[in-house]
Amino acid sequence: MRTEVRIAGFGGQGVIMAGIILGKSASLFDEKNAVQTQSYGPEARGGASKCEVVISDEEINYPKLEHPDILVAMSHEALIKYIVDMKDNGILILDSRNIDESEIEDFVKEHNITVYRAPATETAINDIGLKIVANIVMVGAITKITGVISKEAAIKAVESSVPKGTEEKNLAAFEAGFNLI
């Protein structure tokens, strides 16, 4: 089965790293295939930034997304920009502190989207004391909600992707995210 995941936010939130960790988990530790691509341009320096991952049990030909099964929005601007492509019956995960849901109510109803609220930024600040790990909190939430990667694989990918010396904080952030839902 092919699953298309888009993680979007604003530049600096670490959405690219979150996507790399998903791809790494699936392809190196879950014995699946994965391709990660990302927005590359001026928007990566402030505006809406996005990272896309295709995960599949089979060989992946087309590496880009057509209609995401899973959209993770870390900012309101990114949510509004990217929700329009979502697949019917898809999963929408919101960093709820950063988002006003009133604008998307109709779309969610019409396309039968399941919405999960994971206040990753708030959790990062309150539980870990570091806003910068919000992306790893979100990886924890994505892992729990979607099951697209296994928890064991995700932990290995987090450990091997974050800067040396920060593993403990990041693993705590992952656990906090995993327990949010």
């Binding site: 391709v35 990660q36 030909n61 087309y62 057509e66």
Partner: protein, 375 residues
């Protein structure tokens, strides 16, 4: 033991270069190729190699020619605008038979065009960009693993035939991340063939297979290297028609006569296909998806993936398309390899050329297959 990594295409290219024995890189950073230079700037000093950021791409191509004659396997990486600047020195590398590897991570063109967007619009420049008759070897990868593998192969071919080799990749493959497997047991490296007999050595001899062993500067062989037409010793001999004819024919024939060793294609479902889609580089990924979907719809579609656009694999493409009814070429330009394919195949040939900076969507290719495949 095999190592597994989840990395970008450009990083895989740098890893392939190091594995192949590259110890000198000179270049000028340009999107979307910069990560190749960044990786090698970090890694080359660790293995005793050298990285130099030059003042421009003209100097970069000159520096790697010098690096190669200095005895190091050498390469540079660039994109269209830099590739244009390198053309003069590329001709010099061909006539002086200097093994070098040039990576072009293609972006929207002409001129500075679309720096962050993908394209395959430099394919004819790779074939004919420098003046004169010459036969380039060009490899086009379709995955991160292939960008690693083809980089090693590029160095091997450069050494085997003492010639420049180009890796014509594109922004999609350069920037995307996928798993690659690096298995040292399966990697073959071609070392440089060095001359032994100092007394009787002729660096540009008209040898049967066309390729002479190559000394390094400082080895004591007293080689003269020039861009002028030269005799077997390397001395200019510019007014003798026979010298020039024999020399340039040898340069071209050492590639043409070894096409069987150089050319590579892959194919699927071609035996019973009514329509065959031909592509190279990243569009192969869209074609793969589209052809599988067409088969699910009951359409007899197949595809050919060209690993080596130049020298063009005439024989392989002709053989694989001999029973089909039509051919569709998918490339990210307005028709470049299309005309070469049209020249070779016997059936009607159509083009789905895409510019603008995005990869073909599988649905676009599928619609064209349906239209041509009689649905």
């Amino acid at each position: 033991m095999a190592e597994e990594l989840f990395i970008q295409g450009n990083e895989a290219c740098a890893k392939g270069a190091l594995k192949a024995g590259c110890r000198f890189f000179a270049g000028y950073p340009i999107t979307p190729s910069t990560e190749v230079a960044e990786s090698l700037a970090r890694e080359l000093p660790k293995v005793g190699g050298a990285f130099v950021q030059m003042e421009d791409e003209i100097a970069s191509a000159g520096a790697i020619i010098g690096g190669s004659w200095g005895g190091s396997k050498s390469m540079t990486a660039t994109s269209g605008p830099g590739f244009s600047l390198m053309q003069e020195n590329i001709g010099y590398a061909f006539i002086s038979e200097t093994p070098i590897v040039i990576v072009n991570v293609q972006r929207g063109s002409p001129s500075t065009g679309q720096p962050t967007m993908t394209s395959q619009s430099d394919m004819m420049q790779a074939r004919w960009g420098s003046h004169g008759d010459y036969e380039p070897i060009v490899l086009s990868p379709s995955s991160v693993q292939e960008l690693f593998d083809f980089t090693i192969r590029a160095f091997n071919l450069a050494e085997e035939f003492r010639t420049p080799v180009f890796i014509m990749t594109d922004e999609v493959i350069g920037h995307m991340r996928e798993k690659i497997i690096i298995d040292d047991d399966k990697i073959e490296i071609v070392p440089r063939k060095r001359p032994e007999d100092k007394e009787n050595y002729l660096p540009f001899k008209n040898v049967e297979n066309g390729t002479n062993p190559m000394p390094s500067f400082g080895d004591g062989f007293n080689v003269h290297v020039t861009g002028l037409t030269h005799d077997e010793r390397g001395y200019p001999d510019t007014n003798n028609p026979k010298t020039h004819t024999d020399f340039i024919e040898r340069l071209c024939n050492k590639i043409i006569n070894n096409k069987g060793k150089i050319c590579s294609v892959k194919s699927k479902y071609c035996d019973d296909a009514d329509i065959i889609v031909i592509s190279y580089g990243s569009p192969v990924r869209s074609v793969g998806t589209a052809v599988e979907q067409a088969r699910e719809e009951g359409l007899k579609a197949g595809y050919i993936k060209i690993d080596t656009p130049w020298p063009f694999p005439d024989k392989e493409v002709k053989e694989l398309t001999k029973n089909t009814k039509s051919v569709l070429v998918a490339e990210m330009n307005l028709g470049q390899m299309f005309y070469e394919i049209d020249r070779v195949v016997d059936v009607e040939c159509s083009l789905i050329g895409k510019i603008g900076g995005e990869l073909h969507k599988p649905s676009e290719i599928l619609s064209k297959i349906e239209e041509l495949g009689g649905k």
